[in-house]
């Protein structure tokens, strides 16, 4: 059996997102070989109209999912159980988490100008955002695979104008420092700029 068959079996069996290093270990290959194998598999899946699956990516984890073009197949099976509608506050918070992840609640609060604890908790309960690593005393939030499944993209980076918005906050943070508002803001727990999200965390 080829490695690609093993990869397929593994992803199918596991179901949940699985870390690339775990895949490499189980298949007995190096991380580089693994990444190559995954890219190859991804390529096969996406290039063929005869395949119904694709690879969802989040950070170093991957997961198999059905293609968004086939959403009516899933809908025919699940009916309304997975329905998730968004209120304006939930949408606002979720959009910021998606574009800025990993991001602290303080940053979200700062941009929205309101306390987002309820919205964040609600999204977290619904499995649309999740808490990741701790940054100092606060957690950093990211969108989940469930979010990707609802919007039908394989990776948050494929959201429209992702790069622009992802880097926008840092530009603003620098501007803020230049106008030296930071001194004033330091007393204020709302200020998020000591913890601007970094690309490398993705």
């Amino acid at each position: 059996m080829e490695n690609i068959a093993k990869l397929e079996a593994l992803l199918f069996f596991y179901g949940e997102p699985v870390d690339m290093s775990v895949i490499a270990r189980i298949l007995g290959i190096t991380l580089e070989e693994c990444e190559k194998e995954v890219s190859h598999y991804e390529q096969i899946l996406s290039s063929s109209n005869g395949r119904g699956l694709l690879i969802l990516r989040k950070g170093n984890s991957i997961q198999l999912a059905t293609k968004p073009e086939l959403k009516e197949i899933g809908e025919a099976i699940v009916k309304d159980e997975f329905r998730e509608s968004l209120t304006p506050a939930a949408l606002e918070t979720l959009a910021l988490v998606a574009y800025l992840s990993p991001v602290t609640r303080a940053t979200i609060d700062y941009i929205r100008g309101v306390n987002s604890s309820y919205s964040m908790r609600n999204l977290s309960l619904r499995g649309l955002v999740e808490r990741g690593e701790e940054k100092g005393a606060s957690f950093r939030y990211s969108p989940t695979q469930e979010f990707l499944k609802h919007i039908g993209v394989q990776h948050v980076k494929m959201l429209p104008e992702y790069e622009r918005y992802h880097s926008l906050l840092q530009t603003f943070a620098r501007t803020m420092e230049e106008v030296s508002v930071s001194e004033h803001e330091e007393k204020n727990p709302e200020t998020p700029f000591d913890e601007v999200p970094k690309e490398k965390a993705e």
Binding site: E16, T66, I73, P88
Partner: protein, 252 residues
């Protein structure tokens, strides 16, 4: 239920942006000054809109979150008030802190305006039913007994203690709202004190209408603070909520 209700409301920046955009103005001091009255007018409607009624305040769920939201609005309102005062009274001296606050509001509003586009993007992609479906975790695996290497009653208790601790701290009374309201009151007192200390400058006002407007703004805020904001204290989640009106303002 209040949580669901809260979700339907616009935040202060969102409201402010809407007001400015409805006047087709660019974000800046002039625009902010020109929408101050509208913003405060919107704030005045809060009590009715959110159903905060002193008779129902004993119902924890009825007021807690809206009060939080109101506090966020008041922060913005206090900054608008500064901007408006400065526009009406150019000779009014602002402290560096106050200058910074005004600048901060502008910058944040611009930031908010930028990021509002992300909502449109996500809304455009979003579908209530998922577009993709995945398999359940280890759907075909057999249930066997795989106990973790080291676990006992104490580990379970340890986890429970951590959770209980987190719950307790999540329920400690929120002093933030109270502090912000007190800060705002101080700020208004300061501005009014400045006005009364420099009576000669009042004549420098551009016109009667403007002066009236300024007075109306202060009155609106004072009214809001006296009539609608109450001091809220709660010792812990399950105790009764103590409510007391704030002391009458010394100014006026």
């Amino acid at each position: 239920m209040y949580e669901l209700k809260l979700d339907q409301y616009q935040g202060p920046l969102d409201k402010l942006l809407e007001l400015i955009e409805s006047k087709k103005m660019e974000i800046g001091t002039i625009a902010l000054a020109s929408v101050t009255a509208d913003f405060l007018h919107y704030l005045e409607g809060f009590k009715i809109d959110l159903g905060i009624d002193e008779d129902s305040l004993s119902e924890h769920a009825q007021y807690d979150a809206p009060l939080e939201l109101l506090a966020d609005f008041l922060v913005v309102a206090s900054r608008l008030l500064l901007i408006k005062s400065k526009t009406l009274l150019p000779s009014l001296e602002l402290t560096p802190d106050e200058q910074a606050e005004i600048q901060d509001l502008e910058v944040r509003l611009k930031l908010y305006q930028e990021f509002k586009r992300t909502q449109e993007h996500v809304r455009a992609c979003w579908s209530d039913m998922p577009k993709m479906y995945t398999r359940e975790f280890m759907l075909s695996a057999q249930v066997l007994f795989y106990p973790p290497s080291s676990i006992g009653p104490n580990e379970l208790l340890g986890a429970i203690l951590k959770i209980s601790g987190a719950l307790e701290s999540a329920m400690t009374p929120k002093v933030r709202v109270k502090n912000q309201i007190l800060n705002l009151r101080t700020k208004i007192e300061e501005v009014i004190a400045k006005l009364t200390n420099i009576p000669q400058n009042l004549r420098a006002l551009h016109g009667e209408g403007n002066r009236t407007e300024l007075v109306v703004l202060f009155l609106a805020i004072l009214h809001l603070i006296k009539q609608q904001i109450v001091k809220v204290e709660q010792v812990d989640h399950f105790s009764e909520i103590m409510i007391a009106k704030m002391d009458a303002l010394k100014v006026e």
